[in-house]
């Protein structure tokens, strides 16, 4: 099994979700995170002092799929999340050893 962790712009969440649903992927876990990368943040002025918001709000979407499905998921997420501007986000892929569905106790691919 593979875990796909995609870090995307917050307002892209709906589109990501719909893209995944439309390819039959329903299970996912979403976390609010803050990120920096090439995109260095923005500068504000508050009470006369400049300050930088250098950690920008992002959304992390985690999807665990059975081996082989990861490329489709990556493509789907990339397509809807791309604006071409810095800050579009990253996707990381890693290996999951096992999965459990708590409700039934099923394990492995059955549990997804």
């Amino acid at each position: 099994m593979k875990k796909i962790e995609a870090i995307v712009r917050p307002h892209k969440l709906d589109e990501v979700k719909e893209a995944l649903n439309s390819m039959g992927v329903y299970g996912m876990t979403v976390t609010q995170v803050f990120g920096c990368g090439k995109q260095r943040g923005l500068t504000g002025v508050y009470r006369g002092q400049e300050y930088s918001i250098n950690l920008l709000p992002k959304i992390k979407v985690e999807i665990v799929v059975k081996d082989g499905l990861e490329d489709g998921v990556i493509k789907a997420i990339s397509n809807v999340s791309r604006t071409g501007e810095i800050g579009d986000g990253k996707i990381f892929i890693s290996t999951i050893d096992d999965a459990v569905r708590i409700r039934t106790g099923e394990r492995g691919n059955e549990a997804l």
Binding site: L42, R47, G87
Partner: protein, 438 residues
């Protein structure tokens, strides 16, 4: 039905007026609490509300026990009152149409306000127990003494003819300069100033709370200034209400516009401070100046407060809510402004420098008193029980350490703001915002 004499009716009119205005001024405590809580970080925001609440509870008792007597009791040498402790007699020399008890309630709300001004400046680091002691001292002694000078029967400044209608000097300057002394002894919040001298931003955690406080304060000022007439039959109350509101509006406008011109965006926190600065500044002169003068006083206040916030930050007098800039600087400005704009005796109305001189002497005297006594009190408290929480408590937050519970137990509070070293952000960074997509 009963029948009433004219003077009973007059008494009734004045009494309901003063009691309702007292309610408004009391409500300002909620205004202070939320303004200050909103302006600081979440982890200390319950502590500050508790401090303001202590002003209302313990502070009201202290003003009842001793403060009111020192302020309005029988005069000793123009310096302080000596009778009327616990409101138990000794106030026959006070000639009022309203009952003494109504007068007390109205005045008590002013005493609490002074303490609450200071609570904002010392936010995020002052020990709660020490603050309790200070509240008793400021409502019981520090404010009443200088208050006696200005408003007491035979107070020395009152006798010289100082005009301070509702307390730009007696309340706001006193509160503001007490704050400066307190802040100097306390020192800045951990992390506010970097070792390289740069100033770090600690943004308001909840601007809605801060605006709630502001609307309550402005609302309460309808009682603070007009109510200080102590009579609903004094038709000057209409002018007072007008000048008060125009100065607030002007201060709010100039605070917003000045930050917009200077830094590209109207800063809501400065619009707030601007309106409050306008209010603090018009408080002395509201009964004596024309509407146009009120607008000018307010416009100046709104700019002054922005400059003053920057100045006190530069000298590392860390005041998280701008209390010194709003109340100290603009209370002072307001007291002086009477000498310039008063229709009777002001510089611009041909009165020469005499009134301005008296006003300057007056506000200078009460400010020195406020600063010096607070400084001494804080130094003694520092040496004895300590004025500041430990660095660990400060890092974790005062709420959990001093009260065992944070303000928000379910709404999370992540540190999304970097330390914001102003100096390492390229000046042009602002212009990029338009291109960014989050």
């Amino acid at each position: 039905m009963d029948s009433f004499s004219i003077s009973e009716l007059a008494r009734g009119i004045d009494t309901i007026w003063v009691l309702l205005c007292a309610a408004l001024v009391f409500f300002m405590e909620g205004g202070f609490a939320f303004l200050e809580a909103g302006f600081i970080r979440a982890k200390n925001s319950l502590n500050i509300v508790m401090k303001v609440f202590t002003d209302c509870s313990l502070g009201m008792l202290a003003y009842w026990a001793i403060g009111f007597a020192i302020m309005f009791g029988l005069d000793r040498a123009g310096l302080f009152g000596t009778s009327g402790f616990f409101l138990d007699g000794g106030m026959d020399h006070v000639q009022l149409r309203i009952p003494l008890y109504a007068y007390y309630i109205f005045q008590a709300a002013f005493a609490m306000a002074v303490a609450s001004i200071v609570s904002g400046a010392v936010a995020e680091r002052m020990k709660f127990t020490t603050y309790m002691i200070f509240t008793v001292l400021v409502t019981g002694i520090i404010y009443p003494v200088s208050g006696h000078w200005v408003w007491g029967a035979d107070g020395w400044l009152a006798k010289m003819g100082m005009l301070d209608f509702a307390g730009s000097a007696a309340v706001h300057a006193v509160g503001g300069w007490c704050s400066l002394a307190a802040v100097i002894v306390l020192g800045p919040r951990m992390g506010k100033y970097s070792e390289d001298g740069s100033i770090n931003v600690m943004p308001a955690h909840n601007m809605h709370l801060a605006f709630l406080g502001t609307f309550i304060l402005w609302f309460g000022w309808f009682g603070f200034n007009p109510g200080s007439s102590l009579s609903g039959l004094d038709m000057n109350i209409a002018r007072i209400a007008l000048t008060t509101n125009l100065a607030a509006a002007a201060g709010g406008t100039s605070g917003a516009l000045f930050t917009m011109i200077r830094w590209g965006k109207p800063d809501p926190s400065m619009a707030i401070n601007g309106a409050l600065a306008g209010l603090a500044a018009i408080t002395a002169g509201c009964a004596y100046v024309s509407p146009v003068s009120a607008v000018i006083i307010g416009l100046i206040a709104g700019v002054l407060v922005v400059l003053a916030v920057g100045f006190f930050d530069k000298i590392k007098a860390d005041d998280p809510v701008g209390a010194i800039a709003v109340h100290g600087v603009n209370g002072t400005w307001g007291a002086l402004a009477v000498g310039i704009f008063a229709e009777k005796g002001g510089l611009l109305y041909g009165g020469g420098l005499k009134m301005l001189g008296i006003q300057a002497l007056g506000v200078f005297s009460v400010s020195i008193w406020a600063f010096a006594t607070t400084f001494i009190v804080f130094v003694i408290l520092k040496k004895t029980m300590g004025v500041r929480v430990t660095p660990e408590e400060e890092a974790e937050g005062l709420d959990i350490n001093e009260h065992g519970i944070p303000a928000y137990t379910e709404l999370t509070a992540p540190p999304i703001y970097g330390s914001g070293h102003g100096h390492d952000s390229p000046a042009g960074a602002l212009s990029h915002i338009g291109n960014m997509k989050i």
